[in-house]
């Protein structure tokens, strides 16, 4: 079972490092929302693997809290960006800021 624990935590750690790289690099806020969601799922998988391998049930309420937090966090940030979108489209004085031009993930085709 130790081999299984090492393999699982190595895979989870590699995935978490890559997700953190996207979280730091992510050109837009939505990329960061998606990668935060994936990071919380990775943390939940890590807690579940720990509980399963060592037969320790003391961390299972944390698992439920992490699963709830992933949903509430991504939905609330998405609602927040949607409200920014509505308030940004209504006025007519649209002047692009630096974040407008730098924050776009891809150049125009």
């Amino acid at each position: 079972m130790t081999v299984v624990a090492i393999a699982c935590f190595a895979l989870l750690g590699g995935g978490a490092v890559l997700i953190l790289a996207r979280l730091a690099l992510g050109p837009s806020l939505l990329d960061r929302v998606v990668s935060t969601d994936a990071l919380l799922v990775t943390i939940a998988c890590g807690i579940a693997v720990y509980c399963a391998v060592y037969r320790d049930i003391s961390l299972e309420p944390v698992l439920l809290v992490v699963a709830l937090l992933a949903f509430v966090g991504s939905v609330s940030v998405a609602r927040y960006i949607g409200g920014m979108l509505v308030s940004a489209e209504t006025p007519t004085d649209a002047t692009p800021s630096d974040a407008d031009l730098a924050g776009h993930p891809e150049p125009a085709p």
Partner: protein, 142 residues
């Protein structure tokens, strides 16, 4: 190791491998919708595999229902959050339109509506995209 432990180990390693593929996809894929596609794999199948392995391994303990609850909760909430994020990504033009095969939210045969840019009225199709943060200036306060 008993046969149940072997099955549980296979489920756990497969679920963790899906988490690694999510990281690879998040690094490699080009835009928000493709990255969501990659990041949804551990959200549903990975969590189901890991919870199955943990339930097999922890069978008989009094708190196993919580693992089942987490799996059901992921199945319910993953489509909701994915729908909201993808809709806002489409509306904010964080989508590579040259990679789309079908665009059911746009009108057929027409380009997506763009407002003329005040400084570059001849083009710049991404000019009407609002900025990402609250630092976007006076436009959010008006």
């Amino acid at each position: 190791m008993s046969p149940a432990d072997v099955v549980a180990s296979v489920c756990l390693v497969a679920g963790c491998f899906l988490c690694l593929t999510a990281g690879l996809g998040l690094i490699r894929f080009p835009d928000v919708l493709n990255r969501m596609h990659a990041a949804t794999k551990p959200q549903v199948l990975g969590v189901l595999l890991v919870m199955t392995g943990a339930v097999i391994r922890l069978a008989g303990q009094p708190i196993v229902w919580m693992l089942v609850l987490v799996a059901v909760f992921q199945l319910i909430t993953a489509p909701v959050s994915a729908h909201m994020v993808s809709r806002i990504a489409y509306r904010r033009r964080h989508v590579r339109r040259d990679l789309l095969l079908v665009d059911e939210l746009g009108r057929p045969g027409t380009a997506p509506p763009t407002r003329p840019h005040p400084e570059h009225p001849e083009g710049d199709p991404d000019a009407d995209e609002p900025a990402d943060g609250p630092e976007s200036g006076p436009r959010t306060t008006s």
